[in-house]
Symmetry: D2
Subunit: 264 residues, 4 copies
Amino acid sequence: MIQPGDLVLFYHNERMAYVIAVPEKGKFSTHRGEIDYTEVLGKNYGDTVKTHLGVDFHLLKPTWSDLTMRVRRTTTIIYPKDAGYLLLRTVIFPGARVIEVGTGSGAFTILLANFVQPTGKVYSYESRSDFSENAQHNLRRVGLDTYVEFICRDVEKEGFMHDQVDAVFLDVPEPWAMVGHAHTALRGGYPLVSISPTVEQIQKTRSVLELEGFTRIEVVEILERELLVRLGRTRPKERMVSHTAYLVSAHKINRDSLTTDEHR
Amino acid sequence: MIQPGDLVLFYHNERMAYVIAVPEKGKFSTHRGEIDYTEVLGKNYGDTVKTHLGVDFHLLKPTWSDLTMRVRRTTTIIYPKDAGYLLLRTVIFPGARVIEVGTGSGAFTILLANFVQPTGKVYSYESRSDFSENAQHNLRRVGLDTYVEFICRDVEKEGFMHDQVDAVFLDVPEPWAMVGHAHTALRGGYPLVSISPTVEQIQKTRSVLELEGFTRIEVVEILERELLVRLGRTRPKERMVSHTAYLVSAHKINRDSLTTDEHR
Amino acid sequence: MIQPGDLVLFYHNERMAYVIAVPEKGKFSTHRGEIDYTEVLGKNYGDTVKTHLGVDFHLLKPTWSDLTMRVRRTTTIIYPKDAGYLLLRTVIFPGARVIEVGTGSGAFTILLANFVQPTGKVYSYESRSDFSENAQHNLRRVGLDTYVEFICRDVEKEGFMHDQVDAVFLDVPEPWAMVGHAHTALRGGYPLVSISPTVEQIQKTRSVLELEGFTRIEVVEILERELLVRLGRTRPKERMVSHTAYLVSAHKINRDSLTTDEHR
Amino acid sequence: MIQPGDLVLFYHNERMAYVIAVPEKGKFSTHRGEIDYTEVLGKNYGDTVKTHLGVDFHLLKPTWSDLTMRVRRTTTIIYPKDAGYLLLRTVIFPGARVIEVGTGSGAFTILLANFVQPTGKVYSYESRSDFSENAQHNLRRVGLDTYVEFICRDVEKEGFMHDQVDAVFLDVPEPWAMVGHAHTALRGGYPLVSISPTVEQIQKTRSVLELEGFTRIEVVEILERELLVRLGRTRPKERMVSHTAYLVSAHKINRDSLTTDEHR
């Protein structure tokens, strides 16, 4: 049975879909009518309730895609199509210790926290305290804040406080400025991934990655295209998101090892 | 230090990249020369070794992308671009109990096992015992077999042995034939995802999902496009994979709840 | 010098761009101010004029892309990305005789008329007389109506009035119903092209093409993606048209020739 | 009836498709058998002939797509998907006078020649005489060489010999070096289009276009994706061309007009 505080996706259709931490009282209210939360608390996930105007809402379990796309946003967020790809370019696992800069709205932090719990940790750096506070709110809401250490710090100047981490995730305007620090913080051979919207950012990041001792530097973009499957009228949706960001991945090489090799 | 049995990505470039469980003795051998494994065992991840012909190989930590793409294959496998998206359309977490049909080569099973460990379980169904055995080999190799229960069974006829699962993943030629069983096995409101290469499969799956009590049925395709970032010559790679499969996702609705609603 | 009746693209930016047949008097009027047409008539293509509010409009020569996208529409039209591809899948040339069904808003008819002039002819069939009349208006406006014979006719029942044509273009909801007639009308070995938005239309069209004596049946889709090239911030535009239609092309084979071959 | 010298597409399937100017004698020869050309001369377009091994070849009319893709190549060529789009971004018509640099293998020149005939002219500039000679061969083969003036010249240094042209097409490694000359050669308000494979080329071209007096500068890429439509197994083809080139278009503005405006 749905308990107070449980996250529920109130779903009528894609335009009317809301993730709610169900409160003990009050009303869920849309232009298609209202539902009393006390009625929802008596239901199970998968049940269907009606507004007082007779409109159906299904009580669904929110997916990771929902929980990240529907955070309270102070920044642009990483889309699921990109987030899923980035995660698989790393070695993340329950127990991993990973660094993220910047925290932003915490959408991607939610995923990291989920996939390192219960024994791992996300070190999430953010230079702006207002962003960090909003992100902490978003993490608490999904119950994953205990797996995240939020650090408000100017990484470019001060570097990271952690090392031997299993992955570094960069989502900042100038990722190249942190690549050197990321090299210091990472375990040898482990991956860094970075996300940036423009070609120029990617060009600079790539150059610095090479200089700072990374290999296997790859850049991709991920496109998501919806197919409308309807009897006798199947076709792709007419419009799509053409671009969110370029995704960079690379692995740290130990510089001393290279030097030794070269001097042989 | 790299230990015997550790998985290492021997990386020269993308065409010469091999995931190896390093043995205690013997030689790593390519057309660009050989490396004695005993030399590798004295190194760390991130170090670089040379073949006797002087060609560099970096000893990198394999990512999830590597570990799934480079399994011993008896079937087509789910690509990382698709796998990442599918995972985020579910509620998978350390501790989750999920069903997968079919096991295939176990590439996707590896991801599921990693993301449900240490307390969750993957129930992986496969009708062909030879596939299942190969997949078990692949899971053992990455040390994740203890989180998977391999079941050799004709699901279409016999259904699932587990219920109240957090997600069902279908990768079979006739997913529609298992949708009813999946509805029974799933927790109310929780997601099913399915992957199929052809439009006709998607059309049938969608129809049956609707009939059997699923909502929020969505179909997408994910495209991955590589960008070659080279000083003064940045451009997308000339060729790409245009199609792997369509990805379907849906949520279970509790049928009794619907009926009750309709009879009010 | 710009003459009365000349088509001019009044261009401020892509959102404020208007194709106008310049009248002898009156005012061009936008929310950014007005321009007296008498002032435009004293100018040349390529000149810049200002509204009374000081906003620049360049007087540009409209391209085929403009002339087709900015017709008076009663129907959906064929986009330039698709139209260009379709034309090159045929043998169109000045002097060609081609059939088009249906006329629609005449956007594609404009292109056909231009590329068969001065000695060729477009036979443009349309079952709805209101569509045909609007299309004739659109063709007259660009001065290409003399190269088109507009025919209002139910092609499915009555067939075509012309034969030995160099190409057949189908843009109708049920192209398969006209494939047999198209075979009769076409010169042997010459191409038919057809455009349809849904997969099911393409499936039926393909089946009938094969049955009716066509070969080299190919289906493609064309995607157009804009790149925003701005100093230091180059990236693809955020949104794009994901789908307009599937494009089918095929060549007629002479059935008697085939039969003869088979009986040898 | 097919005459000696006629261009015929000998078509078995897409991998076995050959454009041949049918000679008076000799044999068409493939690994699937031979066909005597004298037998072909007795046939019509659309007929089917068999090799001595019994394999069918259809005698099809080559399309513009075939005639450009199957030229004798000394350079990369412009693909039909791109060529069609470029043409529609101009005002080309029978009678137009247009400039092209460089001629390359003449694939795009064939299209221009066809669409300006019988009274127009293509001025095709190429700095390398060997390329120009091969292109002339390719144009003669399709019977369109009389509509082209081939000019071997270093345009960057010497500029164009023609002016008041209806369009300028640039397909050179350094298009920005010709933008000034193109501005001089073009009619006011008329379009220039340019094609380049890399982002950096586009960035430089765009900057210079803006400086030299062009407006409405747009950059797109065109993607072509094949759909395999087969009963019960419809799906996109597995691989595709991901990138050929970026396409730039712009319109000339008259500089004196601008100055006048600014001084008002």
